[in-house]
């Protein structure tokens, strides 16, 4: 064996844990900084009403980020999630409203397609970047076919659900907490979740231990599809009408959210709670913060880029030694 036993120069158990703690806390720290910034610039935004308004569109983004997280866990990438959300939105605003049974079957079918893609990628050993790239065209095309122009209407039950105003805690925050907790327990604390994450860490070992890698890919892509559907439905519940291009920015936002939340592209290292926090950070920084800072609208997009870079640079400073 040519690996060196004691190459872990100097960092004892305590040192490693401290760095790890800082890394895990990084997403929360970023969010806190942004919140402090907002509070400073516009104190009235820190209120029930303010949060509701600012984080309105955060829920669909968070759900799409979770979908992306599943895919990234097994060392793949989904470049089609944004267009998929748009497609689901169009289905929701038309069929789900007019002919619910057809709408539901279409949505179920699309989840099945997502799962099937996972199987295809595994069996043919395809690069997920290219497959999902092609699928992004497919979903976008389907969306345009269903709704060539923005329109349609969200089903009433969906609208009222998304418009729910719980006491004390704004709905978006409540939803975010619920999503984070459920995902955390599902992926990080369950016994099968360990297998799923293990597949991303060392697929060969998982295979040798007798688990089916094919099944894990199907499950993860299927879950991505499920959360893509929920995301699209939630989005329409908020905007109340559909638009084929509504989800276009979600692909990149979802990737950014997972990485901001401490996830890594390879190795099966992801954090559901981090991903939720990351998506909230991006949602807040994307518009509200910049508006309050009087950043010219030209720089809305650019600011997202800068935030990503700053957070990732901070992570690099607290990060594990690059080998």
């Amino acid at each position: 064996m040519t690996a060196d036993t004691l190459a872990a120069s100097g960092s004892g158990r305590r040192g490693v844990n401290y760095a790890r703690l800082l890394r895990t806390a990084l997403p929360a720290i970023s969010l806190a900084i942004i919140l402090i910034g907002i509070a400073y610039l516009n104190p009235r935004a820190i209120s029930y009403f303010g949060f509701n308004l600012m984080l309105n569109l955060a829920i669909p983004i968070t759900l799409a980020t979770i979908a992306q997280m599943f895919v990234i866990t097994i060392n793949e990438l989904d470049l089609s999630i944004g267009n998929f959300v748009g497609f689901v939105g169009c289905v929701t605003a038309t069929w789900l409203h007019d002919a619910p049974l057809i709408g539901i079957s279409v949505l179920v079918l699309s989840v099945v397609i997502y799962a099937a893609l996972g199987a295809l990628i595994h069996i043919r050993n395809l690069p997920s970047i290219v497959v999902t790239l092609g699928m992004s065209f497919v979903w976008q095309g389907l969306a345009i076919l269903i709704l060539p122009k923005p329109g349609g209407a969200a089903p009433d039950w969906l609208q009222s659900f998304m418009g729910f105003q719980p006491p004390y805690v704004p709905f978006p925050i409540l939803a975010a907490i619920v999503i984070a907790l459920v995902m955390h327990f599902g992926l990080m604390r369950s016994s099968y979740g360990a297998v799923l994450r293990g597949a991303g860490g060392n697929g060969q070992a998982i295979n040798r231990a007798g688990w089916s890698l094919l099944k894990t890919k199907i499950v993860m892509f299927g879950l991505a599809g499920v959360f893509g559907v929920i995301s699209g439905m939630a989005l329409i519940g908020i905007t109340t009408s559909g638009d084929a291009n509504i989800g276009n920015g979600y692909t990149l936002l979802s990737i950014a959210g997972v990485i901001l939340g401490g996830g890594e592209f390879v190795g099966g290292r992801v954090s559901p709670i981090g991903a939720v926090i990351g998506s909230l950070t991006l949602a807040l920084a994307a518009s509200p913060l910049l508006t309050f800072m009087h950043v010219p609208p030209d720089w809305d997009v650019g600011a997202n880029g800068i935030i990503l870079i700053v957070v990732l640079a901070a992570r690099a400073l607290t990060g594990r030694k690059a080998d």
Binding site: T2, D4, L6, A7, S9
Partner: protein, 490 residues
């Protein structure tokens, strides 16, 4: 009934080929209940391949596998697990992103439902306490954060955990190579205890002392065949080395009376390990072959990499006087470009010199490849074939050709003879000595103490430091092994 219960597993006439290579050339092998078998042989003798067949991770091309008296038509890892046969390989099969407890869960399907984490944790901790008392590992530690010694401990302990499946046979492939002497001793005494309780074990190790002390029976392999099989009391170190095929090597090198390199020859490499206290450093003069020894993973590769780095930038404590090339030992991760031809793999270090103007000259590339094919004896019909078409030994020769065919005057070798057959080794030793006589300097890290007889001087490593510097005259296997454990000596 008595016959069926006697042998846990039997291999009959098993053969395994990798292209032109006969990794296993007709092997009969049986494991009885309650015995510890020591399996020895040089790198490339077929030990690992045999273990893969036993554990179900490799399928024999010919021959049969019988477990508990039942012939196995479709043998696999899952089947082996269920029948109670487990293996701890040299490549760790742990998931670095998961914790110790989670990795335990991976091996056991039944660890699920509420409270699985606690059960998994207590299962692995119990075993760790039993095998390696005082280990200091927590069930919640992430594998990626643990040093390799602790990872090895987890891997071993995991193999011994019990849930639903029985545990009849555990195969340990060089288990002590990443453990320090203390942990190694703990493991071996645990093996003896378990064997006394009726479990069986196969132990593969380069440390012949371990094998002689721990096993009931010893099997020696050479070039894909079993060449000796008997009670361990029948063997001693000399007989083992002889049977393994070391004798010729010994004779061959002993016959050459090497004139030692002059004290006035220029120093090509001076290197001090980062954690070295005191002034001890490694020195290599022009034309010398300097060996690095000691237990695997004790800083030898680290020093070689430091020397390699020093050729392109400033490196504290290290200085080199000429271009440096490295011959990798772990071909897959450090050496081979799997999509390229043999010729391309050889030429990659020398590209700048093969240019005519802006472009690489095709004829000069071809010439380089062909001259080295002849010189080092690469067996292939066409140097433009993909490199993976070569046997392991020939692939290693190609890596040697890459380094030796370049302008490097200093050649570092990172345990390059792993998985290489004896015949190839002898050819390459000759070449190395010839190159050294012509003025090249070699730093040679090897895990086969045999090979150190080629060296002018050997530095023994322990815990990242040089603990001994042995000249050719003082060089015996005993002294090297003794120095390897120097800290633990009473």
């Amino acid at each position: 009934m008595p016959v069926a219960a006697k042998n846990i597993i039997e291999l009959d006439g098993v053969e395994r080929h990798f292209g032109a290579v006969r990794a296993l050339d007709g092997v009969n092998f049986a494991v009885r209940r309650g015995e510890c078998i020591g399996l020895v042989g040089h790198n490339g003798a077929g030990k690992s391949t045999l273990m893969h067949i036993l554990a179900g991770t490799g399928i024999a091309d010919r021959g049969s596998v019988t477990v508990n008296g039942e012939l196995q038509a479709t043998y696999s890892v899952q089947r082996a697990q269920r029948l109670g046969i487990r293996c701890v390989f040299q490549e760790l099969s742990l998931c670095p992103n998961l914790s110790v407890a989670e990795n335990t869960r991976i091996s056991h399907v039944s660890l699920r439902g509420i409270g699985w984490a606690k059960r998994a944790a207590s299962l692995i901790t119990k075993r760790l306490d039993e095998i390696f008392p005082g280990h200091g590992i927590e069930a919640g530690d992430i594998i990626g954060d643990l040093p390799i010694g602790k990872r090895q401990m987890v891997e071993v302990a995991r193999a011994f955990t019990l849930t639903d499946d029985p545990l009849q046979l555990v195969i340990l492939d060089e288990p002590t190579s990443s453990l320090d002497a203390h942990a190694a001793g703990q493991l071996l005494s645990f093996v003896r205890r378990s064997v006394a309780e009726g479990m069986s074990c196969i132990l593969i190790s380069h440390l012949l002392g371990e094998i002689l002390d721990t096993s009931d029976r010893i099997v020696v392999m050479r070039d894909g065949k079993v060449v000796a099989d008997g009670a361990s009391s029948q063997f001693d170190r000399e007989r083992l080395i002889e049977t393994m095929g070391g004798a010729e090597a010994r004779d061959a090198t002993a016959a050459i009376a090497e004139t030692p390199v002059s004290e006035n020859a220029p120093v090509m490499v001076s290197a001090r390990p980062a954690v070295q206290q005191g002034g001890t450093e490694l020195l290599a003069r022009e034309g010398e072959i300097v060996g690095l020894a000691g237990l695997a993973g004790h800083g030898q590769t680290r020093l070689l990499i430091d020397v390699f780095r020093a050729s392109t930038r400033r490196q504290a404590g290290v200085s080199v006087a000429a271009p440096v090339a490295l011959v990798a030992g772990d071909r897959q991760t450090d050496g081979v470009f799997p999509l390229w031809s043999i010729a391309d793999n050889i030429g990659i270090r020398s590209l700048k010199g093969l240019r005519r103007g802006l472009f690489i000259a095709a004829e000069r590339e071809k010439e380089l490849a062909h001259s080295w094919q002849k010189r080092i004896g690469i067996r292939t019909p066409d140097m433009d074939n993909n490199i993976l078409s070569l046997s392991g030994g020939n692939q290693q020769k190609a890596l040697f050709a890459r380094a030796l065919g370049s302008d490097a005057r200093i050649v570092l070798m990172d345990d390059p003879m792993r998985g290489v057959d004896v015949a190839t080794k002898l050819e390459v030793y000759d070449l190395i000595r010839a190159e050294a006589r012509a003025g090249r300097t070699f730093l040679w890290y090897t895990t086969e103490t045999e090979e150190l007889s080629n060296c002018d001087r050997v530095y023994v490593f322990r815990n990242g430091r040089i603990v001994a510097a042995l000249d050719r005259s003082e060089l015996t296997e005993e002294r090297v092994i003794q120095s390897s454990f120097e800290e633990a000596a009473p």
